[in-house]
């Protein structure tokens, strides 16, 4: 599996030297963001894409690449894989769609892919997926452009959908959470979410595992791994109803499962189940913080109205706003003076417009004993 995440060289099938196509996008994207491994293309016409050579046959490549990526029509894949096998390529990512998800359950082409893989002892991701990303080495298989890639992220993200995976990558990044590695599973012909889960559990650079899934390939193995995993796992499992099942089948061949069974299994494995993008991002933000030992919170609030909203939320979720000790209130008075704001928990900072005072108060609040956490309810706005 390591080769899929840290390949030293990649060949992209279906790359055009003359017109921009998905294969060319994969090559250009890696080149532009700074992937330092070797890049090759194979296409119908020989040529050059920004210094990357496009060959007409994989046999002509000067080395055996670690990974082959397919972006050619589905029916050409088994034959080209055979040529990869002859070249000694063992890791294959089939990004092309048009397999069983399209032909309504006709698995003929996929059986061909599996037969070739078996003959040459190949590992296969996909088909119908966007492959993997390793942000640390700026290696990215998806046919979308990425920019300003941060390194050092500790989040491993697995998605059964390239589209949802891409938008969730952007969503978490938009909230300041750096992803470390990403994998799209697609139809999961051979490698499935349990394989990726196993890899991320063992990966020393991954601290949090998050997934978007439409179905399980090997449910029992998956939950066995999850139950033994001591890294937090956040999952959005869609395809929850008969209405969705038909769509999911044609999307990634996902089979529907009884949603209450999924709920129960998640609870047993201590998996955090989330329902939408916002919950997905929030859960990832929360599990990155140290666990609170109890329910006592000191609340600092930007305004009186936000203090009321925070009190509502504390009541709803069982947090306890313990009154501030007199020593803290005396200390507050040395930090700022105000005529009207009550020095109580939650502390209304509405009259303060010098934001440096906020940090002073926050530092004092963090020193408080007999509190399990500080909730700082501030605002931001793009306008």
């Amino acid at each position: 599996m390591e080769k899929f995440f840290s390949p030293r060289s990649i060949v992209v099938f279906g790359a055009s030297a003359t017109k921009m196509n998905l294969g060319q996008i994969v090559l250009l994207n890696n080149k532009q963001v700074g992937y330092e491994g070797n890049l090759y293309g194979v296409g119908s016409q020989q040529g050059d894409v920004n210094g990357i050579h496009i060959y007409t046959k994989v046999a002509d490549l000067p080395e055996t690449p670690d990974v082959a990526i397919f972006l050619t029509p589905a029916k050409t894949v088994p034959g080209l894989m055979r040529e990869c096998g002859e070249k000694g390529i063992t890791h294959v990512v089939i990004e092309s769609g048009g397999f069983s998800e399209y032909s309504h359950g006709d698995h003929t082409l996929e059986y061909d892919v599996l037969a070739v893989a078996k003959k040459y002892n190949m590992k296969v991701i996909g088909p119908n997926c966007v492959g993997t990303v390793n942000f640390d080495m700026k290696m990215m298989m998806p046919f979308a452009f990425f920019k300003n890639i941060p390194t050092g992220g500790r989040l491993g993200l697995i998605s059964q959908s390239g589209g949802v995976g891409g938008s969730y990558l952007r969503a978490v990044a938009g909230y300041g959470i750096k992803p470390g590695k990403f994998a799209a599973t697609g139809n999961k012909l051979q490698i499935d979410e349990a394989h990726f889960l196993d890899y991320f559990i063992k990966d020393p650079k991954t601290d949090i595992i998050a997934m978007y899934l439409e179905g399980f390939k090997r449910g029992r193995d998956f939950f066995g791994l999850a139950r033994q995993c001591d890294k937090p796992i956040v999952i959005q499992k869609s395809n929850r109803s008969p209405l969705s099942a038909k769509i999911a089948q044609s999307h990634t061949t996902a089979l529907s499962s009884d949603d209450s069974v999924v709920d129960g299994a998640f609870r047993q494995a201590a998996i955090i189940r989330v329902d939408d993008e916002l919950e997905f991002v929030n859960a990832i933000k929360v599990v990155r913080m140290p666990l609170m030992k109890g329910h006592r919170v000191a609340v600092l609030s930007r305004s009186g109205g936000h203090a009321v909203l925070t009190a509502d939320a504390c009541a709803k979720y069982g947090f306890n706003m313990v009154p501030f000790p007199p020593s803290f209130i005396e200390k507050l008075k040395t930090i700022y003076k105000t005529r009207v704001i009550a020095h109580q928990n939650p502390l209304d900072l509405g009259e303060i417009f010098d934001y440096t005072i906020f940090t002073e108060i926050l530092e004092e609040a963090l020193k408080l004993e007999n509190y399990d956490g500080v909730l700082f309810n501030h605002l931001y706005s793009s306008l």
Copy 2:
């Protein structure tokens, strides 16, 4: 009430000519955004703020302003109001805090305010509020700077909290919804949310009414008005628990009410109750759209994964994804060609990267008969 929203002239008490204070901010803000009425300040020192004269006595003003705004310490307010009464000023906004919300229910100062108001037949907003905004005439009473104010909005927003009101104004604007008028109620000593509701119901420039409330002043009158109102009303009512009650009391003197009674009254008056900022904005977005006649939707989706998520949502909320008629599918084939995407409802547009095609398909979908709505599930991202 009209004078509070469309004053031809305003005097701000507590404005400093020399140092930036809240009163000066109110004056500068109106000047900078383009309020065309007359502006005056009253402060302890005579002077000039960006062409606005600061007087030491309201009696010296060359005219009788439509509205007086108070940003002076609470204890000075009744005396200054008396001077306003002598000058003939009938509309007063008390932005200052430090009344009963601070002194834990001591209403002495507020009784004084009411006595002066009665003697001079004055209308009073506040105390402890940020006043009103009329975006169309670029008149704004809050002591915060606003920029790039759009006109022509049809949303009337009432907030019991200036802080929450301000952040919700920015939130709705951030989603492209233009507010028309805004009012903060504060302690509701005299004018309360029912007065503002009544005004917005009658205001021909207001189509949608939204509120953030912490308590009701005249519940029966309020719900009587709401039940007869044919404009949609969206309300976030906080202060839902005993834990919040103490905070709300010290914030805007709001009294707590039984939350299930509030729920029932909202249902009877067809008020849309929302729980947080996101629901607040979404409800306002939804009520601006024409009512659907039924539950049949045509779904266009950016990717297969988003199609599955949309199908989940349709199942959850009772929408029906009727299969597309053959004529629509034939039409689609003339608009775009793709090898693998199934032409079904929801329609997966994942392989299309030419976004002009999206509008063509959307136009065709809108022509479909036997559908009650089109749901276009697209993505956006700031990255």
